[in-house]
C-alpha cells in the first residue's frame, strides 16, 4: 500500500534506496539511488530477522529490549487502523481482524484507549539499518515491517515444530552415519525427467 513506502525525511518514492548483489556476476555490486540526502546513502539491511512478539525478539538475544520495542512500535504504526471491525474485515477478510492489545494501542497511538481495529499481525521484521558514508558506518537504528498478513485458521508454521524438527534432525544425523556405512542406495532422476515445451518451466 502506498503509505508504507513513505519515510518522514524522504520524498515519496516507489523504489528501493539501494540494491546489491552478493555473489552473482563478476564482482560484488552495489548502487545507491540518486537524490538521497548524504546521511542516508548506501543503506543496507544487516541480516533482518522476524519475530512474533517483543518477548521473542528479546529472547533471541540479537537486539536489546529497547531496539525490539522500537521496531515493534514502528511496525504496529504501519498496520492499517479501522473504526469498526466490519470495515477491517471487509478489507482483510472475516476473522482476520482484532482489537489492539493494550501494548499495541500504546505503540500505535500513544494511548491505551482502543475503539479501533486492525488486522492481526503475524510477526515483524527487525534488522540493523546501517548507514555507510564517507565518514564510516553508523548504526541508524532498526528497520521493521510486517511481512505476511495473518490469516484465520492458519497455524504458526514451523515455530511450534522447530524443536521437534531439531530432534528429527539429530535422529537423522545418527541415521545418516549408519546409512552411509550401509551405503544405502539413493535413487535419483525421479524429478525433472519430462521435458517442457521450450526446455524450461518458468512462466
Amino acid at each position: 500500500m502506498a503509505h508504507n513506502d513513505q519515510t518522514p525525511h524522504l520524498p515519496r518514492r516507489k523504489r528501493s534506496a539501494r540494491l546489491s548483489l552478493a555473489m552473482m556476476g563478476a564482482s560484488a555490486f552495489g548502487l545507491t539511488a540518486c537524490g538521497q540526502p548524504e546521511q542516508t546513502t548506501d543503506v543496507s539491511f544487516d541480516s533482518p530477522r522476524s519475530y512474533q512478539s517483543v518477548d521473542e525478539c528479546v529472547a533471541a538475544d540479537v537486539y536489546t529490549r529497547s531496539a525490539c520495542e522500537d521496531a515493534y512500535e514502528a511496525s504496529v504504526q504501519e498496520v492499517p487502523r479501522f473504526n469498526t471491525l466490519e470495515e477491517c474485515e471487509a478489507e482483510h477478510g472475516e476473522g482476520a481482524c482484532t482489537a489492539p492489545t493494550e501494548q499495541q494501542s500504546q505503540a500505535a497511538t500513544g494511548s491505551s484507549g482502543g475503539g479501533w481495529f486492525m488486522p492481526a499481525m503475524m510477526g515483524y521484521m527487525v534488522g540493523n539499518m546501517m548507514s555507510r558514508t564517507s565518514h564510516g558506518a553508523t548504526n541508524r537504528g532498526v528497520y521493521q515491517e510486517p511481512v505476511y498478513r495473518n490469516r484465520q485458521n492458519q497455524g504458526n508454521w514451523n515455530t511450534a515444530t522447530n524443536q521437534a524438527t531439531q530432534r528429527v534432525n539429530q535422529r537423522h544425523q545418527a541415521l545418516r552415519t549408519t546409512a552411509t556405512q550401509n551405503r544405502q542406495a539413493t535413487q535419483r532422476r525421479g524429478f525433472g525427467s519430462r521435458s517442457s515445451a521450450r526446455g524450461g518451466w518458468g512462466s
Binding site: 500500500m1 502506498a2 508504507n4 516507489k14 523504489r15 528501493s16 540494491l19 546489491s20 548483489l21 552478493a22 552473482m24 556476476g25 563478476a26 555490486f29 539511488a33 540518486c34 537524490g35 539491511f45 541480516s47 533482518p48 530477522r49 522476524s50 519475530y51 482483510h92 477478510g93 503475524m122 510477526g123 521484521m125 511481512v147 505476511y148 498478513r149 490469516r151 492458519q154 497455524g155 508454521w157 514451523n158 515455530t159 522447530n162 528429527v168 534432525n169 537423522h172 541415521l175 545418516r176 546409512a179 544405502q184 539413493t186 535413487q187 535419483r188 525421479g190 524429478f191 525433472g192 525427467s193 519430462r194 517442457s196 515445451a197 526446455g199 524450461g200 518451466w201 518458468g202 512462466s203
Partner: protein, 388 residues
Amino acid sequence: MLRVDVAERANWKTLAHELGFHFHTIGGEPYWKESAYYQFSLDQIERDIETPTEELHEMCMELVDRVCHSNALMQRLALPEFMWDTIHDSWVSGQPHLYGRMDFAYSGQGHAKLLELNYDTPTSLYEAGFFQWVWLEQAIQQGIIPRHADQYNSIQERLINAIAHIGDRLGSAEMYFSCIKDNDEERATVHYLQDVAVQAGLKAPFIYTEDIGYQRDGDYFVDLDNQPIQALFKLYPWEELADDAFGEKIPQLHTHWFEPPWKAILSNKGILPLLWEHFKGHPNLLPAYFEERSPSPLPPGWVRKPFFSREGSNIELLTPEGQREAVDGPYTDSPWIRQAYHPMPRFGEHHALIGSWVVGDRACGIGVREDVGRITKDSSCFVPHAIV
C-alpha cells in the same frame, strides 16, 4: 501510460555480462530492450496496479482457503488426490510462500484486467527486480530520463525480507535452490534467488532438479552427498512434481517446498473461472468459464487456455471480429478454460503486458513485456518502466 523512445546506455551489454545477465539476448533475438521505456504516472501505478494487485491477491488467498477445505474443488482443479492432504496441511499450518506475478492488460486508462496468475514458477524476476532498477538509476545519472523519475520496484528488498522471515522459521537457516538442467535463463533466475537468500542471511546451496535424491528410509529428500534437504526452492511446477516418479514420495517426507504445496491451486488456470464464480463482476476480472460447460456462455471473442501451460503455449484466441491466433505446444492432456477476450493495449506495433509482483503478501513492483503478437511468449521482450 506512454511508450517513450530513448537512447540506450552505451555500456549496457558489458554491464549485463558483469552482473550475470547473460540471457539479455535469447537465440540471437533481443530479450532486454532499453531503446524505449514505459512511462506511468504515480496515480496509474498506485490506483490501477498496486491497489488491485493486493486486492486480487487477498481474493486468491480466500479461494485457496475454500479449495483446501473442499474435495470437490480439489477435484475440479484436477489436483491429484494423493496430494490433497499435503496441500491442505501446508495451507492450514500457514506455510509461507515467497512470491507470485499477476499479468494484466492495462492501457493507462480504466481497470487493469487480470489475464492470468503466475504464482508457482514466475520468472523475469531478475530483470524486473534488479536489472530494471539499475537501468533507472543509470538512466537518470546519464541524463537519459528526467532526474525526478522514479520506478515502482521494491521487489528485491521485499524478497530479502520474505526469505529472511522464512529462514528464521526453518530449523537451520538453509534453503536449497533447484531448477532443471540445460536452461541458462532459469539457472540465472535461481542464481539470483540464491544471491537474495545469501543477502538475507541464509545458506543457499544449489542442486539440479534431476539430482534430487530419495532414500527409502529417509525423512527428507537428499542432496548429492546424501545430506538431508530440509527446505527446497524449486523452479519447477507442482503439477509436474506430482506427476514425476518421486511425486508420491512428497507427502511421506518432511522436506519443505517453496513455493509451498498450496500454490498448486494457483498454478492452475482453473483458478480463473473460480475467481469469476466467487467474485463475479469484479472490475479487474474477465469473465471465465470451465470448458466442460456447453454451450459456452461467452459470445465470440474468447481466449482458450489449458489448465497447465507455460509461456503462451497451447493458447488459442478468437477476437470479436473473427481473427484467430494460436500458439502450439505440448499441453494437450489437461482440461481447458475459456476467458473473455480483452484487447491488449497497443503502443505502435507493440502489445504490452504488465507483470505485477507480489512478494510475501505485498504488491511491490512491475515488469513490462511486449510482443508484436497478441499472445505473450517466452520470446517477448522485457522493457523497463519509469514513473514520471
